[in-house]
Symmetry: C2
Subunit: 428 residues, 2 copies
C-alpha cells in the first residue's frame, strides 16, 4: 500500500528550517516503528532536529506520536494520588532510593519506572539490584498491587510503553544525536505520560557531571518537558540542580544503597537529605497533598518502614548485608588546605571504570564497585590523608580508573564560593 | 580488530561545528566503504555536513579519501593532452554530444565518463543510446585505444572509480542529504580526478531547471570544485550558465541527438552553439592548446567527422535513422505576443513523464520520447499556433505530462529583459 508521506520530504522540511505538520509527525514516528522509514532516514531527521530545533507544538505532537506507539497505564483505580520523579542523571544520584518511600510515607503513591545505567551515571535499577534478592521486573498487575499496598514501587519500565522511543533511543545512541533537546524531552516525557502518573517532578541536572553542561540548555530542556507534561494533563514541575560535584559521599551501587539507608534512618549527607526533601515537597504539592512534612517522616522512621516493605515486596532482604568490594585503593590529598573542587565527571568515570557502570547495554555491573568520598568541596583536607577510596572486585581496574581522577580535584588555601544545590525551579 | 576512531565522535565533531582532522576523514570514508560505519551513522554525518559545512581542507581530504577507495586511471601514455567537461545537469543539455568530438577535432583528447539520467534531467548515455547499435560499456583498454585513435570517447563510468562515492550517493538520495555542497563537490570531483583527466571544465547550471536554484549557491559549488581540482593538479575552470529555460529546442534522447547533429553540421540553435563553443574554448585553453578555433571546426566538418568515428567505434551507426515517437501532441500558444518565459523545470518534468527519463534507476527510457520547442523566450508567438510538441510511444502519458506544463510559460506584450547564457566564470 502506498504511504501517505515520503521520508525524504519530511527530512527536507526540517533540514530547510521548516515546521513539520501534525500528519507528517504522526506518520514518520509510526512508519519508523513499522520499519517503513529506515534507520538511515530517521538518523538524518534526528540530526536535522538537533541542529534546527522544534517548536513547542512539534515536540508535543512528536511526544504524542511516541505515546501512541504503545500501551498506556492507568492508576485511576488507586485510593491515593500518584507522583513520579525523573532525574536526567548525575553522579552519586541515589535520590530515588530514599525519595520514593518517603513520598509514599506521606500518602502519595510513587510509580517509579526506572532504567539501568549507561556510561558514567548509574542507574536506579543497578543500585537496587545490589540488595540481595531484589528483582526489577514486575507485571503491571504486580506493580498496581504494590502501589496500593506499599505505596511505592521502583521497577523496570515494560517494553509496552512507547516502543518507538526505545527504537529511536538506540538509534540516537550510535548516531551522535542523543543531545537533541526536543528528542531528549519527548523521550523522557513520552514514557512518563504513558505511565499515567498524575504529577511529575523533574530533576534536571546541570554541571560537569550532568548531561547538560550549562544552565541555559538545562533550562531549555526543563521548560520543554514542563510544557509537554502540562499539555498532556500531568502536573509537572522541574528543579534545576547542581551536578558539578557528586551527590553525597558515594558513587556506586551498593555504596549508594547504604548511604540511602543512612538518609532513611534520619542521618546521611546534608546534600542528599536536602535534595530528597526538596523533591518530596514538590511531589506532594503537585499531587495536592499539603498536610505532610517529609522531614518529619525521615525522623520518625515511617519512610524507613516503607523502604523495607518496598524491598521485601520485590524479593529483597532489607536486613541482608550489602556486597563489599574485594579490593580498595586510597587516593590521598596532595596538600593541606581546602578542597575547592571535586569534579563529578571525574568521579563518575572512575566509578564506571571500577565496574559500577557499563559501557555497552549487555555488560554486567559490579554491585560493590565505586568511589567513596572522604571530603566534599569546602571541607578541609590534610596532605596524605584519604581523599577518596576506590572499590572494585578486580584490582586491574585501578589503573584504568585512576587517570580519570587526574585533574579532577583542587586543594587551595581559601574555600571557593559555594553553589546552591537547587539552582532554579521551572513551572508552567 | 579495534578501529582507530569512533563514528559517534566523528559525527559529534561536525555536529558541534568542529573541523574533522585528516585521520578522521580518511577513517570514516574507508570504514563506511567497509561497512564498519553504518548507513545510519553516515547519514547523520551527511546531515551535519549539509547544515554545518566543511572547510576547503576538509572537502579536499574527503575527496581524496573517496578517490583512495578505488582505482585511478592514467592517460599519460596518450600522444595528446586530455580535457573533460562535467555539467551539473539541465533540461535539454545535450552539449557533451557536439562538444566531445569538437574538442577532439581541435587536438585535445576527451575522456568523457558519463552517467544515466535520474529525474527531470536527461543523461548523456541515455541520449547516445538512441543511436542504433551504440554501446556505453567499454573496458579501460578500449577507452584508451579509442582516445588515441578517435580522440573522443563517451562511455559509462566503471564501478572501479570511487566506489565510496557510489555507496554514499545512494544513501544521500534517500536521506535528504543530496543538497550538501561539500558532498556534491566531492562526489563529482572524486570521479573526475580518479579518471585522470589533465584539464576539466565544469558547467554549473543555475536556475529553475537546475539543481542549484540560486547563483550564490551555484558559485559556492563552482568555487569548491575548482579548488578541489586545482589542489589535485587538474587544471579546472567553471562556467556558471543559465538553466531557467531549456537549452536548444529539444528535450529528450533521440530529439537531442538530432539537434546535436545539426550543430555538428554547422547549424543548430544559437544557444547550443554558443555554449558548445564557449566550453570548447575553455577546455582547449585549460589543456594548453591555443592554435585552434572551435567555431571553424564546426563549419569545416572536422567535428562531424570525429562524431561519426566516435559513434562507429562504439558500434553506433551514424547513418541509421533515429527512432521517432509513435504519438505526438501539440500544445498551442494561448495568445498572440512574445513568449516571455518557458520554464526549464516544467519542460524537464514533461519530457520525463513522456518517457524520456526514469524515476528509479532500474526504469527503462524511451529513445523517442520528449518535447520539441517551437519558440524560445523572446520569440513572437501566435494564438493557436504550435508552441510545444510532445512525443511519446505511449499516448496515456500525455495526460501525466500536460499538468507539468501548467503555468510553465507566459505570453506577454513586450519581451522581458534577456539573461546571458554564460553568467559567470570561476578559476582558481
Amino acid at each position: 500500500m502506498a504511504e501517505p508521506h515520503d521520508a525524504v520530504s519530511v527530512i527536507a522540511t526540517k533540514r530547510d528550517h521548516g515546521e513539520l505538520d501534525d500528519a507528517s509527525i504522526d506518520w514518520v514516528v509510526d512508519a519508523y516503528t513499522r520499519g517503513v522509514v529506515a534507520d538511515e532516514q530517521m538518523s538524518a531527521l534526528a540530526m536535522a532536529i538537533l541542529l534546527n530545533g522544534m517548536t513547542r507544538r512539534e515536540v508535543a505532537r512528536w511526544t504524542a506520536a511516541m505515546i501512541a506507539s504503545g500501551e498506556r497505564m492507568d492508576f485511576s483505580s488507586l485510593s491515593r494520588p500518584t507522583a513520579d520523579k525523573h532525574s536526567t542523571g548525575g553522579v552519586g544520584d541515589k535520590i530515588t532510593l530514599p525519595l520514593a518511600p518517603l513520598v509514599a510515607a506521606c500518602g502519595v503513591a510513587v510509580p517509579q519506572l526506572s532504567g539501568r545505567g549507561l556510561g558514567h551515571t548509574g542507574g536506579t535499577l543497578d543500585k537496587l539490584e545490589a540488595v540481595p534478592g531484589w528483582r526489577a521486573e514486575l507485571s503491571n498487575a504486580e506493580m498496581l498491587a504494590q502501589l496500593e499496598d506499599v505505596g511505592a514501587v521502583v521497577c523496570a519500565a515494560g517494553t509496552g510503553l512507547a516502543p518507538a522511543d526505545r527504537k529511536l533511543y538506540a538509534l540516537r545512541d550510535v548516531t551522535g544525536t542523543v543531545e537533541a533537546v526536543p528528542l531528549i524531552a519527548s523521550s523522557i516525557m513520552s514514557k512518563k505520560i504513558a505511565e499515567g502518573t498524575g504529577a511529575l517532578v523533574l530533576d534536571v541536572k546541570v554541571g560537569t557531571g550532568a548531561f547538560m553542561k550549562d544552565r541555559a540548555t538545562a533550562r531549555e530542556l526543563a521548560e520543554t518537558m514542563v510544557a509537554l507534561g502540562t499539555d498532556a494533563g500531568v502536573r509537572t514541575v522541574a528543579l534545576l540542580t547542581d551536578m558539578s560535584t557528586p551527590l553525597g559521599l558515594t558513587a556506586g551501587n551498593a555504596l549508594e544503597v547504604a548511604e540511602s539507608v543512612e538518609v532513611l534512618a534520619g542521618g546521611g549527607p546534608g546534600d542528599v537529605v536536602e535534595l530528597t526533601v526538596a523533591l518530596a515537597r514538590e511531589m506532594l504539592a503537585a499531587a495536592g497533598v499539603d498536610d505532610a512534612d517529609p522531614a518529619d517522616r525521615l525522623r520518625d522512621g515511617s519512610a524507613m518502614d516503607v523502604w523495607r516493605r518496598m524491598l521485601a515486596a520485590q524479593g529483597g532482604d532489607p536486613d541482608a548485608p550489602l556486597p563489599t568490594a574485594r579490593e580498595t585503593h586510597v587516593v590521598t590529598a596532595p596538600a593541606t588546605g581546602v578542597l575547592t573542587r571535586l569534579d563529578a565527571m571525574a568521579v563518575g568515570i572512575a566509578a564506571w571504570r571500577l565496574g559500577a557502570g557499563r559501557a555497552r547495554k549487555e555488560d554486567r555491573v559490579q554491585a560493590a564497585a565505586g568511589v567513596r568520598l572522604h571530603a566534599k568541596p569546602g571541607d578541609r583536607v590534610t596532605e596524605g590523608a584519604p581523599l577518596l577510596t576506590l572499590h572494585t572486585d578486580e584490582p586491574e581496574r585501578f589503573e584504568r580508573a585512576l587517570p580519570a581522577l587526574d585533574g579532577g580535584f583542587d586543594v587551595g588555601d581559601e574555600p571557593a564560593g559555594s553553589t546552591p544545590l537547587v539552582l532554579d525551579r521551572v513551572a508552567d
